[in-house]
């Protein structure tokens, strides 16, 4: 007997989300979207429970989670940092900004700092090309980024 261990609040939330979509297998992407929106990531236990509630194999849920880059199984930091690597940002030096972030945080893309404060991801274009290069920390957008400014931006959250 395999056991899925989750807190009561999580179990109730996930069951509620599945129910709001009529526990339909076809709604699995919407369900995962909503659950990730709440918890920031989709650990194995959560996928197991979603599969169980929608009556589909967990291999299929994992197939979807691993296919779409939007879904992630790594927890996000308290302040998730996204670096835009779209064309405009890229040609204006986004990669150097990214390298500096990696250096100062001591993590790679897709990872979280050991204290859980920051996580680092890349994305393509946030629609603010006029401000390129752009990074986001949480919901806040920082434009015209340079490697020199990284330290100051991070200091705002420490």
């Amino acid at each position: 007997m395999a056991v899925i261990k989750l807190s009561e609040a999580k179990v109730n939330f996930i069951k509620e989300v599945c129910k709001s979509y009529g526990n339909k297998p076809g709604e699995v992407i919407n369900v995962l979207h909503k659950v990730q929106g709440e918890y920031g990531y989709l650990p194995a236990e959560v996928q197991e429970l979603v599969a169980k509630e929608l009556g589909i194999p967990v291999s299929r849920v994992y197939g979807i989670v691993s296919f779409y880059s939007f879904f992630t199984m790594t927890p996000k930091g308290e302040h998730p940092i996204s670096v835009c690597l779209g064309t405009a940002c890229y040609v204006r030096g986004a990669e150097k900004v990214l390298d500096e972030l990696k250096r100062q945080l001591g993590i790679n893309v897709g990872e979280v700092t050991p204290d859980g404060k920051f996580s680092l991801t890349c994305l393509r274009c946030v629609g603010a090309c006029g401000l390129a290069p752009v990074i986001e920390v949480g919901d806040k957008v920082y434009g015209r980024m340079t490697p020199d400014r990284v330290k100051d931006v991070l200091a705002e959250y420490k």
């Binding site: 007997m1 395999a2 056991v3 899925i4 261990k5 989750l6 807190s7 009561e8 179990v11 194995a44 996928q47 197991e48 429970l49 169980k52 589909i56 194999p57 967990v58 291999s59 299929r60 849920v61 994992y62 197939g63 691993s66 296919f67």
Partner: protein, 594 residues
């Protein structure tokens, strides 16, 4: 009907026919790789992914040629269509496609388990590919080995037959395509090992895999080592379905019965005693049939706590399936062990005692049409003091390989008998190999025990057939008995759900995991989608039964003797100890952690 012209041949086909099927109707061969059909078993795989079957549409619905080549397996014919299946352009494209597939394939055909049976190898030969012009990155995944199945995903061509089989035909759901682009692979959830997934080890994924990505665990070396060890007494037992399929590996037509030749070959390999799983199948009928009658009698006496229908428990893939998917019904299946495990228990207790052989000096080998049997033999409840009842399981394919290694040809073998006493069997035991056979065998015995009268007719043709779910009422001299049959696990799931919801009532249900029953087992010679082969094997099973002098399990003299000498009566204390088992809940449960 619509008119199409394929390779200048005019034919009429029903609307909705693919170019591939139309070509086959016209006797034109279009090579395929990912495409797979098991006619009559409701299994068709046509992801249109490999592009090996591309054809040139020289006249499309609009009267003009189609610009791109079209995949024949996934393109429907339209009125007036003209198609070339082997133009220079097509052959060129087909070669490039296969060369590209080969550029990400480990070319280790010399030691590959599928060599000689590999559809990619055949294609490369057919297209005359002598070198792979494309060099680039290659996929690397860790190998995974369950007790039954080896996964070597470096060889996967992403045809997704296994995924389709696992999810749609079997509804097991262990495998799914995961990741994307170049790193896409078919794997269990979270890339865990098969053994930790809901895999039931039926092995149908292995049976349909076109390449060496999925294959059986090879136990031939272990068996040879045991035979070479002078301290060991090595005995063998052969499952019903192996005798109607082994011949195919030696060029005999499907449906050739090779029982006697197989026994002779096994003796030449050096087995000390050659026994028959069929003996244990007769024993299974005695135990399971008695259990069935016991439950029916209690039920008729008004005991509402009785669990009906009784479910057969011979098929280890099925046992795994209900342990994973029907944990609320674990007390419904018969507690009788499978014939193979009964054989092991009898051999290592009754027979070993009789012969004065120590348990640890006796090696029991099974020849099975099945991959799940390899796993079953390793279940811990079938061990005693660290020693298993069945030491090794070889598939029909592995046995064929061994026989060839010994420079023997089954065709030249004389027909020999099995050894006594664990080699004597009836026609009822043979039919265990085909869907509906176990329940027919049980019915033959249960009828006579229940009514006290001889059977008016031995053949219950109403229980035979190839439909995925069947049911029949059998008249037990005034008492109607409702029997259900399912083969293929999606059918089993449907039938069981109907029972669980109370929509239908049965007294007994037989389930076999593999399409067609054991004749279509994953350890049998590869059928490459030709369901005629499975039909021929089934017919042979019933021919073998019809030719047997005794056709009811309870009339087997060796069975009568073993009850007199050892077990007393069916479902006695002693038989419960050795011939019955119990089941485990393997489903996922949610537990509150904080």
């Amino acid at each position: 009907m619509i008119n199409v012209t394929i390779d200048n041949k005019q034919i009429q086909v029903p609307e909705g026919t693919t170019i591939l099927k139309a070509a086959r109707m016209a006797g034109i061969h279009i090579p395929t790789l990912c495409y797979f059909e098991l006619a009559g078993m409701k299994f068709e795989n046509k992801p249109g992914g490999c592009r090996v079957c591309v054809v040139e549409v020289t006249k499309d619905f609009n009267g003009r040629p189609r610009r791109n080549l079209a995949p024949a397996c996934a393109t429907d014919c339209v009125e007036g269509m003209e198609v070339l299946t082997h133009s220079a352009r097509v052959i060129n494209a087909r070669r490039t496609v296969v060369e590209l597939i080969l550029s990400d394939h480990p070319a280790d055909c010399l030691t590959c388990a599928k060599s000689g049976n590999c559809e990619l190898q055949s294609l490369a030969q057919y297209l005359g590919i002598r070198e792979v012009p494309f060099k680039g990155e290659q996929s690397h995944y860790r190998q995974d080995m369950s007790p039954s199945i080896v996964r070597d995903m470096d060889k996967c061509v992403m045809c997704r037959r296994c995924e389709n089989m696992c999810n749609n035909v079997q509804t097991v759901g262990a495998l799914s395509a995961i990741n994307r682009g170049f790193s896409a692979v078919v794997a269990p959830a979270f890339e865990q090992d098969l053994v930790d997934s809901p895999c039931v080890m039926c092995g149908q994924c292995v049976q349909v895999c076109p390449v060496g990505a999925l294959s059986e665990v090879d136990d031939t070396r272990n068996v040879m080592a045991a035979i070479n060890n002078p301290k060991k007494t090595v005995i063998v037992n052969t499952a019903p379905a192996t005798r109607v399929a082994l011949g195919e590996e030696f060029g005999m037509p499907a449906g050739t019965i090779v029982t006697g030749q197989m026994a002779a070959a096994l003796r030449r390999l050096g087995f000390d005693y050659v026994f028959d799983t069929d003996f244990a199948a007769d024993l299974t009928i005695m135990e399971e049939g008695t259990e069935l009658l016991g439950r029916i009698k209690k039920f008729m006496a008004g005991d509402k706590s009785v669990r009906l229908p009784i479910l057969t428990s011979c098929c280890p893939g099925w046992v795994n399936f209900f342990e994973h998917n029907f944990p609320d019904m674990l007390d419904v299946p018969s507690t009788a062990k499978s014939p193979m495990q009964m054989f092991g228990a009898v051999a290592k207790n009754y027979w070993a005692e009789k012969m004065g052989i120590k348990r640890e000096d006796l090696v029991v080998v099974s020849i099975m049409p099945c991959l799940a049997k390899k796993y079953e033999s390793k279940r811990k409840e079938f061990y005693k003091d660290g020693n298993p009842d069945i030491d090794y399981v070889l598939t029909t394919r592995e046995l064929a390989r061994l026989i060839k290694q010994f420079n023997l040809n089954l065709k030249d073998m004389p027909s020999e008998d099995y050894d006594d006493p664990l080699g004597e069997s009836t026609g009822a035991a043979v039919i265990f190999g085909a869907t509906g056979g176990v329940i027919e065998a049980a019915t033959r015995t249960a009828y006579e025990v229940f009514t006290g009268k001889p059977l008016p007719k031995i053949d219950f043709t109403e229980l035979r057939g190839i439909e995925g779910i069947r049911d029949a009422w059998v008249d037990f001299d005034g008492t109607p008995i409702h029997i259900g049959i399912a083969h293929g696990l999606s059918n089993a799931r449907k039938l069981l759900e109907r029972v669980r919801e109370g929509k239908e009532q049965f007294h007994a249900i037989e389930v076999m995991a593999c399409p067609g029953g054991c004749v279509g087992g994953a350890g049998q010679p590869y059928h490459h989608g030709n369901s005629e082969i499975i039909k021929k094997r089934t017919e042979a099973i019933y021919r073998e039964d019809a030719g047997k002098p005794i056709r009811k399990s309870h009339e087997n003299p060796s069975i009568k003797k073993i009850y007199e000498e050892y077990f007393g009566e069916p479902c006695s204390h002693k038989s419960h100890e050795l011939l019955h088992t119990h089941y485990f809940d393997k489903s996922e449960h949610v537990e509150i952690s904080e």
